[in-house]
Amino acid sequence: MSGSFTLTSPIASAEWDAFHRLDRLTAKRPDLWVFVCDPLTHALPAGSRALLEAVRHDSEITKVVLGEGPRPDLGVARLAYESAYNESARDFLLHAGRVFLPHSAHAAAVPWPIGSEGRLVVAVRDGLQLNRGAVGQYGAVDVGAVTNVVHAIPDQTINAVLTASRIDALCALATTWPCTYNQVWNTGLPAHDFLFRALEDLPDDIRRQHDEVHTSLAGKDLLLLLPHTTGPEAVSGVFLSTPQLASLAAWCEGRDIVLGLRMDTRGARPDRPAPQGVLDLSPARFPSLHAVLRAADLVLTDHADAALDFALLGRPVVSLVQHPAEAPRDMLLDLERLFPGPVVRKFESVFQALDSARNATLHPRYDAVRALLCDYRDDHNSARVVERIRAMTKEAGA
């Protein structure tokens, strides 16, 4: 699948096979919930974090986080934290009845071939999808070559995908093949809880990040640049050329607006610092996307996924796509028709669009598009997922 990336498994094939055999023989514990960090960013995805928050006080659930970075302070009592490669992690995985994988790298999140037999393996998505993005997987086998079928189905790990709407379900499936439609859980995205939850109820670290951004704005509005691509214009590292960026900064200055930039670098450090005069809101400084989105007043993007999540807050978004021929290759949705704000083709038009947006004139189809993309605008998404899992556990035990 184009747009995917392949990781080389560090596990020797003998160990791989041994795990596979053991996994089939090991009874699964529905009370053992394993949350897996993103193998590239080493962070616990926001969706998994939200789910963890939802069960943090549930003493009947054993909670384990697998990750490679330093142990994060998640504020959850009796939480095990292990490297995905060590033996403890392997044992947890063998027994885990519930495993939560980051959608962006669901097939590569753990180095073990965990199966879905008797186990719920959930792809947790952190937001809506406008783009296919990069989906990592361990060396995909050319199954067609061995089975003489064009589209043979490989062994499947994921058996549930969390989605926010019917359209979102279709987007999710396009990036979680070989998942099927009946594995879609249209519960809403747990990560969206962090958009809608009262500030005081947010986890401390996310609230602190929000407050820090907020403080740095000093009462001014924040125009957040959310680039998806680093196209040919990207001398500055964004979808704007350096002069365009300067021009935008000047526009902001004249209106007492802070221009902030958040590039999703998938865990890598940005290859250049934020340009002068632009507030650095990168994940390295503010790991929580939602903390930054909540602090922003409007967003200018080319076609970043997070712009859709931001629009759920009811605030204006503007898309600038200067090279439309390039965009559709990576896009799941039709930007022209399913973007909740104006889509402009020329940089010169951006200012009028932003002015209009600031004057509270939302795009005529803003609400219609939001309604199509997300069925839930509340902070109960995690609760719905947990409720469904509990019902599943109860049914299995009955």
């Binding site: 064009v150 189905i153 359209i167």
Partner: protein, 863 residues
Amino acid sequence: MTRPDLNEVVVRWHRAVSVWASLHEADAAEARQYLGRLLDGHLLDAPPPAGDLGDVDPDLLVECEVALVNASGAFDEDGYADANRHIPAIRERQVSAVEHFCSTGWEWLRNPRADFDMWWYWFEHLDPRRTQINPFVHYLLVGRHLGLATSASRQPERPDPPVFEEGITRRICLFAAYDVDGIVDDYVVHYLQELSRFADVYYLADGRMPEAELAKIADVTKGAWAIPHGRYDFGSFSTLAEELVGWDIIDQYDEMLLANDSCYLLRPLDEVFGTMDAVATDWWGLQGSKADFGERYGHHEPIPFAAAKGMHSERDDWYCYFRLHLSSYFLVFRKRVMDDPGFRRRLSTVASQEHKMLIVLKYEIGLSDYLLRAGFVCDTYIPDLYPFHPIYSNDYFKLLEQGFPLLKRNLINENSLRVPDLAQWKERVRPFSRDAPLDSFEANLRRVSADDRLRASLAVRTRPDGTVDHHRPLGRRKFRAADRTAPTFDHWWAFPVCADEHTLTGSERAVFEEVADDPSIKKIVLTRSRRIDLPGTNVVSAPITSPEGQHHLARSGQVFLKHGPLVDVLPWNLSTTTRNFINLSQGTPLRRFGRSLDSPDAATLERLHRNNAGNRAAVAAGPLDRLAMAAALYPVPYDAVWETGLPRHDLVLRPEDRLLPDMQDALRRLREEVAGRRLVLLVPGVRSAKAPPGLRFSDREAADLASWARRNDAVLGVRESISDRGRLFAQLLPHGALNLGVRRFADFEVLLRVADIMVSDCSPSLIDFTLTGRPIVSFAPPAETDSDSDSDDQLYNLDRMLPGPTCRTADQLLDALDRVLLPRDAAAEEEYLWRRSLFVPRIDDQAAWRVVQKVKSLYVTGP
């Protein structure tokens, strides 16, 4: 013991099954004892239960009946197994004889023992119109305790049968007809003209017909009707005798002829009637048949019919199919039979059957069997009984020599016995026909026959060495082997017709036309029941099941499909890696289908995977459609769905003067029928498997819709479809709606181009129609889906996305039709265009071109 009411027996039996089930779960021995008490005649001991027939799980019912029959010891297991050893499940011991009998055998009238005649018992002691209870179970529980007979004793022939030396002057003919196009064909007029010389003819067609068609036979019939009843020829005979003509009229005649339109009349009937009037008999036919008097059973020569009447084989005792009978295409009864209560009851209790064969078993063979056993004297015009089945075998030509006046259409177009050299049928029957309109017969053959079967029939020929070339296609295994070894050519493009409608229309047609004149591409049209001859360069057309079709298919590098390899190219399981199956889609889905449906059962899942996984690529109308197609066609991945647009849309958007001549002609025909009125096109949606059939408009609602059309200078047009299991819109046909079915207008796009409004139930056609910019109405009656308008079987929140109103009742539909007639303001127009663009972002007639480019790119890059 007095005979209990049948309904009461059924209710008690169903209750008893439930009791047995609960006992069986707890204690098998006690359950056996319970059945023993029932077999001892205690079913009727308890007070009669209240309520209806009571629902019982069909599997449970069979399980209990198997236990009951086994416990009775009254079932001849060895005899049944021996008599039915040709059935694979029995031969291979997949089921026991009792299990087979209790699950399906009894409904197919297979006898449980040699002295128990299923249909006779059923007819005499139960309700022959209903399938309420296994007659043998009834016998075990009730019948034997009442001393009910289990079969008819054979009576000696009655003395002094009537004879008419001077000829019969008072004869009535009840004529049963069916025409797939709802017309009275010329050959029928010709036949009826001749019959009217000898009888007062009453005609009933099973189906709808315009008055103008019935007017064609007004001069040769005393009465002619067209009424859909679905009970084949015996249903028409029954309706004529019971309702349309009546026995009081029939009583005025000396002889009653039952005939149907399954035959062509080759010669005048003077000789037939002249000969048979002088024969002393109670009833007669043209010839007799006996299924086990055939070459397969060692009978190669004819025997006198008189001797045949005395024949009895063991098979007769086990299955009525083998019994001697006269065929219903031409049966004549004289007064003694006409007055017989058993005969009249048999004609008055004809019920619709799930399979045509049951009509034959119950009514055709059943009637003959009754009359023969009752001692009514029988004779045939052809004096001998020929080996089975003489009118479909080479012996037919011997019958012709003896003056047989008819030609059965099925001999030519089915040719089930593979008679060679029927390609020359006209030359072969001409010497025996007197001025018969053979060309008219041929025209009828071409119009109503399944083209692939007709071609297969006519292809059987005698080789120069005298052996017969049956022209059979390879069997599944051999064809698969051939497919593995045959080379495939990139430039051989195969177009199998739609597996449902057998047409090459829509997207497949658009792609075909895109390359029709490209000599570098060999176009192979693989047909089924319809004859398809499309113009173009380097075009081949052959039935998909013919040897020629297989040869071409095995070598085709590209195959264009509507449903998927398994459905469109038969279950041959062809290689999917040595060729490209390109799925051209059935349209923009709005409802979930295929793999996007909720957890199908294992068998369906397996079939879906096998069907879907073979599609190298599929096409989609736009980004959203691409996502939906990837979900439904799983495991076809997202990357393999091409956002080319749907080629069928080209045929809606292309300027009319650039359309194909046949489509232009169809447009003209449709506009003539519409006659300047607004056309409201009613198209049934594809029903999901769980949708209940049989939704009905009330008479008032149907009349209101017709009235709305008249008030608004509109006409309703119904596109019936085999997927419309409820036939909701078909109800409107008697109210003046136009029948725009596929036999009349093969190309759906023609209807889209002419229609002013489309009403459909969430079908892809709604989206197709928005290409015209005209209004749509989604009409999904509540029984179809959940009460929530965003029902779970939809892929999208349609109320937020469809560019037209959605409604669920007939009154809402009328209101919606009123509203969509009003002109849209600018805001509404913009909203319409935006919603349409969600599904179809690109409005042009170049989708087929884009598909062709993508396919050609596979030449170079491969998968």
